[in-house]
């Protein structure tokens, strides 16, 4: 019979009209992201980071710009870590390259911005920068103290001789 298929199709729609809803009201209800979700912004744990720059080397699209500064004891520290969100492929290679597990995703999927400049994301937070200055100062002080001790030792040693 012509029209039988149409009626069967309408029957499916009718069944679903009264059935369980497949959708939900998005801004009011939000789905939790999965444990492995890759997306949003990168988060850098400044205490774990050893500034080895493996993440930036692993990046296929050069989306990570680093500014690494050696301290007075020639140990490297991260001063600035810029994630170019617009270039990112979200491939997770940087996170996997990190030996100290200092990098992770913040799992915030709502990352659209109004301006292009906002797509350059600085991962070293104010707290991270304070920590950076603190370790730099500490290293400087330690190096100075060591140099002083060495000089004194030399002076004393020279006197003895």
């Amino acid at each position: 019979m012509f029209g039988e298929g149409l009626l069967t199709g309408m029957g499916v729609t009718w069944k679903h009209f009264w059935g369980k809803k497949e959708t939900f009201c998005y801004p009011e209800e939000k789905l939790p992201m999965t444990e492995r979700f890759r997306g949003g912004h990168l988060v850098l744990d400044h205490k774990k980071c050893i500034a080895c720059s493996l993440c930036s080397l692993a990046c296929p699209n050069q989306a990570i710009k680093l500014k690494i500064v050696p301290d007075a004891k020639k140990k490297r520290h991260m001063q600035s870590y810029i994630h170019l969100v617009g270039r990112c492929l979200y491939c997770n290679l940087c996170v996997e390259a990190c030996n100290t597990h200092a990098l992770s995703w913040d799992k915030n999927y709502a990352i659209s911005t109004w301006h292009r400049e906002e797509m350059e994301d600085e991962l070293v937070t104010a707290e991270g920068l304070a920590y950076f200055h603190q370790v730099m100062e500490k290293a400087k002080a330690e190096a100075e103290a060591e140099a002083k001790a060495k000089a004194e030792e030399q002076k004393n040693g020279g006197g003895d001789a």
């Binding site: 199709g9 029957g11 890759r38 296929p60 491939c91």
Partner: protein, 365 residues
């Protein structure tokens, strides 16, 4: 004496039914098509060239962006080619996981086909149903690799992470509902008179035509040629699984629809067998972090969702490939559009696009 003359109609590249940015120049006599010329290149990103400037491992996420509806199959194709070139032995567990995710992705891609075919023929409701079920597969992928679109899960040497513990149960749950939702499509689409009128007997192709265009995948199986690389050239662990290759008879749009429809059942069969036989073991082969395959070249082919997906890689012994060429099935299948459209009406050309199922990301590469 009134005379008619042929005229040219430009369809696309912003036409809603051209699956992306494809322009088709239609030479028309009244409303019947004399010639259909696909004009491509609007989505060209130069992925082949980009791969030359990335290391072998860094190249994998770019293959996600070829056929973005079935990224897992692209990852698989590229990784198999690199593994063949560098002679890397993939652990068995990783091979099984690869089969599971690739077949899940095949189902997802065929669901997109069914949805977009329905949408192009005016049945928007049909699209919503197909996308609802595809969402369940994307949820599974989200669980496995944390992405819903560009997965980058299959890596050179294996897969990026083991399946999470809850995956097996959730996948089993999905496989259980496959017959349910397929029956719904049967009710809402297959039995629908309008869909049958639009697909039966439109854009038929003979075996000779399909072969001369070098068509592959569901498009060649629709004309009745049993060419499936998983069977013909059983790669990976595919020879261990039992599945049939659905074939069409007339090579018309209806057969192209039915072949893909039936392939969903076959993929589900493969996934079930792979889940049951999933061995324990490593998921990643051991190979040096800086991969330098020996000098040489390789052509590796896999059965992508849309046909034979081939990667031709030339190595000069350095960390980056010297040349990569990708045999994209969508691009080659699209060449049959002209033969399919000749003598048909304008409306049928829309059905023909959908039935070929080209993906512009892959056509333009």
């Amino acid at each position: 004496m009134p005379q008619t003359e042929t005229y040219t109609l430009s369809m696309g590249p912003q036409h809603p039914s051209t699956h992306g940015v494809l322009q088709v120049r239609l030479d028309l006599d009244g409303e019947s098509i004399l010639k259909a010329t696909p004009c491509m290149g609007y989505l060209h990103r130069g992925i082949e060239k980009l791969l030359e400037s990335r290391t072998y491992v860094q190249g994998v996420p770019y293959t996600d962006r070829l056929d973005y509806v079935s990224s897992m199959n692209n990852n698989l194709g590229y990784c198999r080619a690199v593994e063949e070139l560098a002679q890397i032995e993939v652990p068995e567990r990783a091979e099984y996981i690869r089969v599971i995710v690739a077949e899940l992705n095949r189902i997802a891609s065929h669901l997109v086909f069914i949805g977009s075919l329905a949408n192009d023929l005016g049945a928007v409701t049909g699209m919503i149903y197909a996308f609802r079920d595809r969402e369940k597969i994307l949820d599974l992928f989200d669980l496995v690799c944390g992405a819903r679109m560009t997965f980058h899960y299959i890596r050179v040497g294996g897969v990026s992470a083991d399946l999470p513990p809850e995956f097996a149960a959730k996948c089993e749950e999905f496989l259980k509902i496959v017959p349910e939702f397929m029956q719904e499509y049967e009710d809402i689409l297959t039995g629908n008179e309008i869909l049958q009128h639009r697909l039966h007997g439109t854009s038929p192709m003979t075996k000779e035509q399909a072969l001369s265009h070098n068509m592959t995948g569901p498009n060649i199986r629709a004309v009745g040629i049993p060419f499936d690389i998983r069977k013909v050239d059983g790669y990976g662990v595919y020879p261990k699984f039992e599945f049939d290759v659905p074939l069409g008879e007339n090579g018309d749009n209806w057969d192209r629809y039915r072949v893909r429809y039936l392939e969903i059942y076959e993929s589900a069969k493969i996934i079930r067998q792979a889940l049951d036989g999933l061995p324990e073991g490593d998921i990643m082969a051991k190979f040096p972090k800086v991969l330098r395959p020996p000098k040489g070249e390789v052509y590796s082919r896999t059965e992508g969702t849309r046909g034979e997906l081939g990667f031709y890689i030339v190595s000069d012994g350095s960390t980056k490939p010297y040349r990569v060429h990708i045999r994209r099935p969508s691009f080659i299948n699209l060449q049959g559009l002209d033969d399919m459209c000749r003598g048909m009406l304008i409306g049928d050309s829309v059905a023909a696009f959908s039935a070929i199922d080209p993906l512009m990301g892959e056509v333009d590469c």
